[in-house]
Point group: C2
Chain length 336, copies 2
């Protein structure tokens, strides 16, 4: 575990990240994606000595928050763009999310996946009506294969995290959370490429009751590029990730980084065993299947809380933390 | 899979099983146990061609419906009985439930467990403040050890299923379900000793909107004493159970059997692989941790639905089935 306190300057944002832009994304997604529940657990609140409000994106369509950004993007394509379809490269939750969004909109969808992707993930994407194109398992091969499809078909690239419509779509998770619990002390979100985290930062900036809501990032120790970027105040793009949180392996993007740098209140890194301990709480106490990446935010809160006390800071009388569970797509284990 | 259609005669019940008795139990338990959510899943409804309303007892205190009967029993002890405490024999969810109920009421609780019970289950019961007494792993040894504690301490035996207060407590699960969805076509419940099933039968008899609600049992093929009892119209008490549904190994009791015989509409037995398939749906689609016994009712509905169609029966235009998920206490699997 390591913790870095940041000094957000809330610098002026490009106009595409305005309060109105998030409201518009939320209105656009209404009825298209689930408004996932916000749930508490009495036992955990007693254990942690605070109230924890989970934003349950593991109950989202496709089992993760990714449908928000994908749907927000697909819904804004022109008719001409729609006819040419969309393309992305992903072996994870974004692939399925874009396939679902495309299926609903009735447009062609191609997903570039490394040839060593699990067959079950390829099949799940095909089951949603997408075309799967395989490539060698390198970043360069993924980008080249994706570009080739754009060139051939004129399809629109829907990036897993580094596009404004993706960031604004992901922002609607925290927007819903703050609509339901406006007095949150802070929000914890996991960080991989930073789509969810930067969106959460925007929601925390704009949708408070009487002040900005501080946003904290939780990141796997074995994929801590965001921590290093914030430490060095410069975007780190090199990483050999080693963590069970397989949804958080990528580094921050050109668009997510500046939002995070200027808005994040702090970042906690967590070891795999801390992630597993959080998954165990979800399993044993809440009876939820949460994927490793989805449990990182709770693990981060658990590591961060004692620091605050040790620091001797006066905490609010009744602290309430929002914790975004990003997804629940774990392979089934029968146990027999 | 096997299915047996029954011919319930709804014979007159002893007065302790009246409509008022269930209402009184529900009032007694209000605020003491969770009113668990009733939830649907759009994907599953489409798959099955009907609406399925899950009564989510895996989200109950202690992770299973068992707290209902235990609490209903403990809350009705006199002060003198309370001072002498309670005792039961169980290695499963009833043990923890009675420990929790006793802890809340602040009375002594002793649980007799076979000496080969998993250490984690013994510890969980001790963590709830109960005294654990071990015995040899035979039915006779359990009963003898329990009786010895009753003789020594004057403690009140709270049976896992075969007592009126237990049956009435368990009835409140279906009572809540029918309060929320009064127009249910039928209810599916799992059957082990029959506490939950007989209680569900009582709720189905008394708390309908305009008719009795048929109740169906789902039972593991490898522990099918209830199926055989109904087939032979005589209580079967011999069984060498072999199933992953470890909460449903016991045979029906002297009190649960006559209620079930006179009220049950039908019984479906399900193989372990069908139970596992239902657990997989809960895991992958609903992101819920459900124990094998808790998945038996969905497995039963899944096996039963095609029979109805094959039978050429005219089903209701919009059939709505209640399915009770009895518990979610599975050991955590980290998968790493």
């Amino acid at each position: 575990m390591a913790y870095l306190e940041c000094s957000p300057d809330y610098q002026t944002l490009p106009s595409e990240y305005s309060r109105d832009a998030i409201s518009a994304a939320a209105a656009r997604l209404s009825g298209q994606v689930h408004r996932t529940p916000v749930l508490e657990n009495a036992w955990l609140n007693r254990q942690l000595g605070c109230r924890v409000f989970f934003k349950c994106e593991h109950f989202q369509r496709g089992g993760a928050f990714k449908i928000r950004g994908a749907m927000n993007s697909v819904l804004q394509l022109s008719n001409e763009q729609s006819s040419r379809g969309v393309v992305t490269h992903s072996s994870g939750n974004h692939a399925q999310a874009l396939a679902i969004a495309s299926q609903i909109r009735g447009i062609p969808c191609t997903v570039v996946m490394p040839e060593n992707s699990p067959a079950v993930k390829m099949q799940a994407t095909k089951d949603r009506g997408a075309t799967v194109v395989t490539c060698r398992p390198t970043q360069a091969a993924r980008i080249a294969a994706t570009q080739a499809i754009v060139d051939q078909t004129g399809a629109t690239l829907i990036h897993p995290f580094d596009q404004p419509n993706i960031i604004l779509g992901q922002a609607t998770a925290a927007w819903e959370l703050l609509t339901e619990v406006p007095h949150l002390t802070a929000i914890f979100a996991p960080v991989g490429g930073g789509g969810l985290l930067s969106g959460t930062c925007l929601a925390g900036r704009w949708f408070h009751s009487d002040r900005r809501v501080p946003v904290f990032a939780a990141e796997p120790l074995g994929a801590n590029d965001a921590f290093r970027s914030l430490q060095q105040q410069a975007l780190v793009t090199e990483q050999q990730p080693q963590t069970i949180a397989d949804g958080l392996l990528t580094t921050l993007g050109q668009l997510t980084w500046p939002i995070i740098r200027s808005h994040l209140q702090g970042i906690v890194t967590v070891a795999d065993q801390e992630i597993t301990a959080a998954m165990r709480i979800f399993w044993e106490r809440l009876k939820w299947v949460v994927e490793p990446s989805g449990a990182v935010s709770l693990a981060g809160l658990q590591q961060w809380l004692p620091l605050q006390k040790a620091d001797g800071r006066k905490s609010e009388p009744d602290p309430c933390y929002g914790v975004i569970i990003s997804g629940g797509n774990r392979d089934f284990m029968s146990g027999v």
